[in-house]
Each structure stands twice: as C-alpha cells, then as structure tokens.
C-alpha cells in the first residue's frame, strides 16, 4: 500500500555560489496528494524542475518506480508517466484550448481524432468543456491554470507535479479547483504539489514536506507540520514559535 512511486534522494542544486536545493530528499507515496511547501525562495520550484527533468542536479538521484531516471530528458520522463505544470503558465497561445490539450493527449494517442476525443474528455474533468474552441490566449488566469492542469492530465500520467496551480486564483476559484485535484488522486494519479495557498494545501494534502533555504526541515501530516516549531519559525521568523507558545499559555 505505502509503496513509493518516486523519490528525490539527496538532491543538491547550485546556481553559481547560491545553493538553491541542499541535500533534499522527498519520498512520494503512491496514491497520495503530497504537499511541498516553504517560504519564498526556499527552492521548491527548483526541486520540482529536478524531478521533472528540466534541471540537472549537482548531486543526488531521482528515482521513479524503482528506476534511476536522473539522466533522462523531460520528454522521456513524460513518456514514463511524469507530468508537470508550470508556475508561470505556458499555454500554446496561438492554439485553441482543444488543440492545447490535444498536444498532451498525443503522447498516448497517435491518431488526431483519438487525441482530440481524449482532449475533450480531459476538458470535461477539469471544467473547460465550454471553452474548448477559444484561443488559449483569451483565457483568464483561472482558465489558464485549468488549461495547464488539463494538458498535463492529457498525458495520462501516474505522477502529476503541480506547481502552484492555485496561486493567483480568488477564494471561490480555489474552492472550485480543490475537488478537481481530489478527483485526480481518487482516479489513481499520485499528486506532488507546490502550494502557497495554505488553507488549500492543508485541506488537500495527505502528507506535507517543508522546504526552507533548500533543506527539508519537517515532514508529516498537515496537522503535525503546522504545529512544528521549526516550520513556524521558517515562515514567521526566529523566535516566533516561542512567542506563539507563550500566547497560547497566557
């Protein structure tokens, strides 16, 4: 049951003198929604890019289904079943919503008709059905985030990497997307998500890993992580945990 689908092992990424990710290990259990949180600049997106193959680590390994994939190019990882979204949305702006999603669907469907049918089915799952014929450039921020999600889903992944798909959405839009992500997990896809919207990640994630200054400083259930003094300090500053504790007792 608690089998690992993927694992980042001791990953270190340096940009010149800056250590963006420092010996970080993140095991991802199959069938779960795993949250990766941390303050701005903690290295979340860099660690993500390493798992998806867009960033070569200076040290450490990435394993997927027991195989070492550290040297594989991004498109080979996509073929194995790893899909990602981008924090800064990257639509194919000149194409329609349907054509955008079909590019993802073509990974598993060679024929144009099958890919387009698969695209329509995925659009239905993420609530884009009404917008299929619009140019992607005309979508709102919320629409573009859904499109990112739809394209990634269309590749029929086993592991879905979501980079801040809720950021920039208003509270009602966030409420709309949360069940979509849950349904993805319930459909058998493991989800690893970076998220800034705390309420959402606390509600969604089965387990959470906290990254701060490139290191994993805590992991566990959402509740346990939220109470962890190290996490509170990372977010609110040195000494914050003690002050909060004091307030609680007063």
């Amino acid at each position: 049951m608690a089998e690992l689908i993927a694992e980042a092992m001791g990953v270190t990424v340096r940009f010149g003198g800056l250590v963006a990710v420092n010996d970080a290990s993140v095991p991802v259990t199959e069938g779960r929604i795993v949250g990766l949180i941390g303050p701005n600049g903690a290295g979340k997106t860099t660690l993500f890019a390493t798992i998806a193959g867009f960033q070569k680590p200076n040290a450490g390994r990435i394993r997927f289904r027991g195989k070492d994939i550290t040297a594989l190019a991004p498109h080979r990882r996509a073929a194995l079943g790893i899909a990602r979204t981008f924090q800064i949305v990257q639509p194919f702006a000149g194409l329609s919503v349907r054509e955008n999603i079909a590019v993802g669907a073509h990974l598993r469907h060679a024929g144009r008709a099958e890919a387009l049918a698969a695209a329509d089915a995925v659009a239905d799952r993420v609530g884009l059905s009404a917008l299929l014929n619009l140019p992607a450039a005309s979508l709102t921020v919320a629409g573009r985030k859904r499109l990112e999600l739809a394209r990634a889903l269309a590749t029929e992944p086993q592991l879905l990497l979501l980079d801040e798909v809720l950021a920039g959405l208003n509270p009602s839009e966030v409420r709309d997307v949360i069940p979509v992500i849950r349904a993805i997990r319930d459909g058998g896809v493991t989800v690893l998500m970076i998220e800034h919207v705390m309420q959402a990640v606390m509600a969604l994630a089965d387990e959470i890993h906290v990254l701060s200054e490139g290191r994993i400083i805590a992991r566990g259930s959402p509740d346990a992580v939220a109470r962890d003094p190290a996490v509170v300090e990372a977010y609110l500053g040195h000494g914050a945990a003690a002050r909060l504790q004091g307030n609680a007792h007063a």
């Binding site: 990602r84 990257q90 702006a93 993802g104 144009r112």
Partner: protein, 318 residues
C-alpha cells in the same frame, strides 16, 4: 478527403490554365511563381509551422540544383534519378544542419544567422570547386524530352512544377492533421511546455528541417532543368533565401496556401516594378523590403489572414 477538396479544385484549375493562356510571358510568369511557391512551401514547413526562421534556404535550393546538374553532366546519370538524388541530398543537408544547430540549442536570430552562414559557405565553395564548374558555372546540354526531364512545350514544364507544388502542399496539409503537425506547432509556440508534454523537441525539429530541405531542393532541381545553367550566385545566392521566406510570410505564415498566394503577389509586384522603374539594380529588393514592412505591420497573418478576416468565421476545423 475533405481537407484536400479545395486544394484539388484549385490545382485542377491551375492545371487547366495553359489550355486557355496563349501568352508565353504569362506562362513563364506562372512557372517562376510556382517554383518560388515550392521553395516557400519548404521554408514554411520549418519556419511557419515549426517557428524556426531560416535565412539560408538557398543552401537547400542550391543543393537540389547542383546535384541534378552535376550528376547529369559529370557522371552521365539520368535526369530523373539526378533530380531525385537532389531532393534526398537536400533533406540530408537539412538534417545535418539541424543536428548541428538544434542540438546546440540555437533558436531565433541565432538559428537564422547560422543558416545564412551555411548558405554563404555553400555559395563560396560552389564558386571555386571544379566539380560544380567553379566561377564559370555549369551548363546542362540541351536534350529535349521527358526522359531527360527537359520539356519542349512550355506547358509541360508548368505542369511538372505544378505537380511538385501540389505534392508539397498536400504534404503540408497532411502534416497539419497529424500528431507530427501538432507537435511541430507546439514546439513553435512553447518549447518547454512541449517537452513537459512528452514532445521530443529535437526529433520534431530534425524531421521538419529534413522535409523542408527536401522540398526546397526540389525547387532547385526544377530551376536547373528549366534554365539549364547554374552558377554559385544563382543556386546558392541570397535571392532565393529571401524569396522563400517572403512568399511564406507575405502569403500567410504557417498556412498551406500562404506560399502560393505570396509567390503570385510578389512576382506580380516585381514585374510591375520592372515596368515602372526599368531594371534599376536593387529596385526589386527595395520593393520587397517595403512589402515585408507593410505585411508585418498591418497583416501579420499575411494574405491568408486577410481573407480569413474578410469572411464570416467558420467553425474551426478539428
């Protein structure tokens, strides 16, 4: 067959033209226009659909032309075989240039400059190499006959280039409706997003540049068989690089019809310029420059874009 219906109708109409046109001047005008449309269709596959702007498609045009000429003149090989070899070599040169540039991650203006450099190097080599006739050029002996790919009547040559163009346009149309086409356009729009969706970007670009090189090489082969004389400036000169990209951009970049419409309009303008301004050197290029600026500023989707805007919008095809 639906996506090909309009294409078949227009090609059939074009094929009927020599039956009603008496004027040699008009037929020659059309023949050259179709040849440029063919070169432009090659450029369009890589530049229009794939977003990789080449400034050096002369390298393919010249390779197609010289291969046809050299194999016949120096090695006595049949013209049809030589013509086919030219297309194959054009595709091979495309794959080789693609392998060197795309693997190194060259994009945008860097890719454009490198292709320009390849074409210039080819031009210089052809102008000194004895095999290609060096400075004197190479003359294909006149031996009229279909077996020698030399057409006696003007209509036959016209039909030949029309058939080549028809095949190239049908290929572009077929690619549009396939996985390869979807992936090629995805690469143009956003390479990183394409990679994340499992597109092998390098492979897609290599296939595009090989097809592109082969198509433009066929235009070069036709040029050799029509004019029966080549020198380095004609075969590898910048004029054809410019014509190839202009026909596609003016006509409608990334569309099946763009290069044909663009070639007809540009050739008409160029003839008009000659009538009005005589043969002043460089006048044609000034005219083309002005047209390019106007198109990019006011009709970035070219003539095809203007036609689409003028018509009530139909439901998008697939």
């Amino acid at each position: 067959m639906r996506p090909y219906r309009l294409l078949l109708i227009v090609l059939a109409m074009l094929a009927a033209l020599p039956l009603v046109i008496e004027s040699n001047v008009a037929l020659n005008f059309l023949k050259v226009s179709l040849m440029l449309a063919l070169a432009g269709t090659g450029w369009n596959l890589l530049g229009g659909y794939g977003g990789q702007f080449s400034f050096g498609h002369a390298v393919f045009f010249g390779t197609g032309a010289y291969t046809a000429a050299v194999l016949q003149v120096r090695f006595g090989i049949n013209a049809w075989v030589a013509f086919g070899a030219g297309i194959a070599l054009g595709a091979l040169v495309g794959a080789a240039i693609g392998w060197l540039t795309f693997r190194a991650g060259l994009r945008g203006s860097y890719f454009a400059l490198v292709t320009l450099a390849f074409a210039e190097v080819a031009r210089i080599i052809a102008s000194v190499w004895p095999l290609t006739g060096a400075g004197a050029g190479i003359l294909i002996p006149l031996k009229l006959g279909v077996a020698n790919l030399q057409f006696g009547s003007r209509a036959e040559g016209y039909w030949f280039v029309l058939a080549l163009l028809g095949l190239a346009m049908a290929l572009a149309r077929a690619i549009e409706g396939r996985r390869f086409g979807a992936q090629l356009v995805a690469v143009r729009e956003n390479e990183d997003a394409a990679k994340a969706l499992g597109v092998d970007v390098l492979r897609v670009k290599l296939m595009a540049i090989a097809l592109s090189g082969g198509i433009t090489a066929s235009a070069g082969g036709f040029y050799a068989q029509t004019f029966l004389y080549l020198d380095a400036g004609l075969a590898y000169g910048p004029w054809i690089s410019v014509e190839a990209l202009l026909t596609a951009i003016v006509g409608g970049i990334g569309t099946v019809w763009g290069p044909l419409l663009g070639a007809l309009v540009l050739q008409a303008l160029s003839e008009l310029g000659k009538h009005l301004g005589g043969d002043a050197p460089g006048l044609g290029l000034v005219l083309f420059g002005a047209v390019l600026i106007i198109v990019v500023r006011f009709a970035p989707e070219g003539i095809v874009g203007l036609i689409r805007r003028a018509r009530p919008r139909r439901v998008a095809r697939g």
